[in-house]
C-alpha cells in the first residue's frame, strides 16, 4: 500500500520539475520558488479549513530543529539551481541518489536501530541500472531535467 504511494510521489516530482522549469524560464529561480510555496501555502490553508484537523497548542511541544526542514528545502532548491547547468543531468541523478542512499541508511540506522543490507545492495543495483541506461544514448527527461 505504501509502496505505490512512494512511487506516485516520484510522478509528482517529475511533473513539478516540468512545471517549475517552465515557470523558471519565464521569471527566474526565486520568483518560481515564491509561486511554488505561495500556492502551496494557500492550498494547505484551504485543506486545513476543510479537514479542521489541527491544534496550535501542539506547536509548543515540537522540538525547534524540526522546523529546519523548510530551511533545508530552500537550500536544496538553490543547490539545484547551481548544479543543473554545470554537470550533465544523468550524473546529477546518480550523485544525488548516492547522497540520498548514504544519508537514508544512516537515518534508518539511528532511527530504527537497524542496518538493512537489502537497502545497500538494492541501492547499488538501482545505480547500476541508472548507469546502464545512461550509456543508451537517447536524451530523455531524466537525463536532461532531474534535479
Amino acid at each position: 500500500m505504501y509502496i505505490p504511494i512512494a512511487i506516485f510521489s516520484g510522478f509528482t516530482v517529475i511533473i513539478s520539475i516540468i512545471m517549475l522549469g517552465s515557470i523558471n524560464k519565464k521569471v527566474g529561480l526565486m520568483p518560481t520558488t515564491l509561486v511554488n510555496f505561495g500556492a502551496g501555502t494557500i492550498g494547505s490553508i484551504l485543506i486545513l479549513l476543510l479537514v479542521k484537523d489541527f491544534n496550535i497548542e501542539i506547536l509548543k511541544n515540537v522540538p525547534i530543529y524540526l522546523y529546519f526542514g523548510s530551511v533545508v528545502v530552500i537550500a536544496i532548491t538553490m543547490l539545484n539551481g547551481t548544479i543543473i547547468n554545470n554537470i550533465p543531468a544523468v550524473y546529477t541523478t546518480m550523485l544525488v541518489f548516492i547522497g540520498q542512499l548514504v544519508a537514508g541508511m544512516l537515518i534508518d540506522y539511528f532511527r530504527l536501530n537497524q542496518f538493512s543490507p537489502g537497502d545497500l545492495v538494492g541501492g547499488i543495483v538501482v545505480l547500476l541500472g541508472l548507469l546502464y541506461n545512461s550509456k543508451v544514448n537517447t536524451p530523455d527527461l531524466v537525463e536532461t531535467n532531474i534535479e
Binding site: F8, M30, L34, L59, A103, G104
Partner: protein, 140 residues
Amino acid sequence: MYKYLAILNGLLISIMVLLNGTLAKATGLYFSLLIINGLCLIIVILIIIIKKIPIKDILTLPKYLYFVGILGLANITMNNISFINLGATLTMGLVLYGQLLSSIIIDFGGFFGLKKQPFHPKKIIGIVIMSLGILIMVIY
C-alpha cells in the same frame, strides 16, 4: 566541486524527508503541510526582499502553472506517509523509481507540451536492473 554539491544535495534531500516526516508525525499530516510551506514562503520572501529580486512577472504566468504548489503538497504528503511507514532509504529508492517511470511515460507520450522521444528498446534492460534493485530493497 559540483559533483560534491550534487552528493550534498542528495544528503540534504534525505535529511529533509527525515525532518518533515518527523514533523508530520508530531503535528499531523495536514497541519505539517501549512508549517512547511508557510516557513518556506517566509524564507523565500526574505531572500527576495534582501536581494531585491523583481517579482512582477509572476502575475503574467498562465494560471494553470500556479497549480504546481498543489502538486508540491501532494508530494510532501506522500513523502511523509512513506517515510513514516517505510523508512528513509526505501522511500528514496521508490521515489526515484517513480521518477524514472514517469519520465519514460511522459517522453514516450510527449505529454505536457514536450517533444515525443522514441523509446529505446535497450532501455528496458536498465529498467529491469533498476526494478530488481527496488525489489531487493523491498524484500530484504
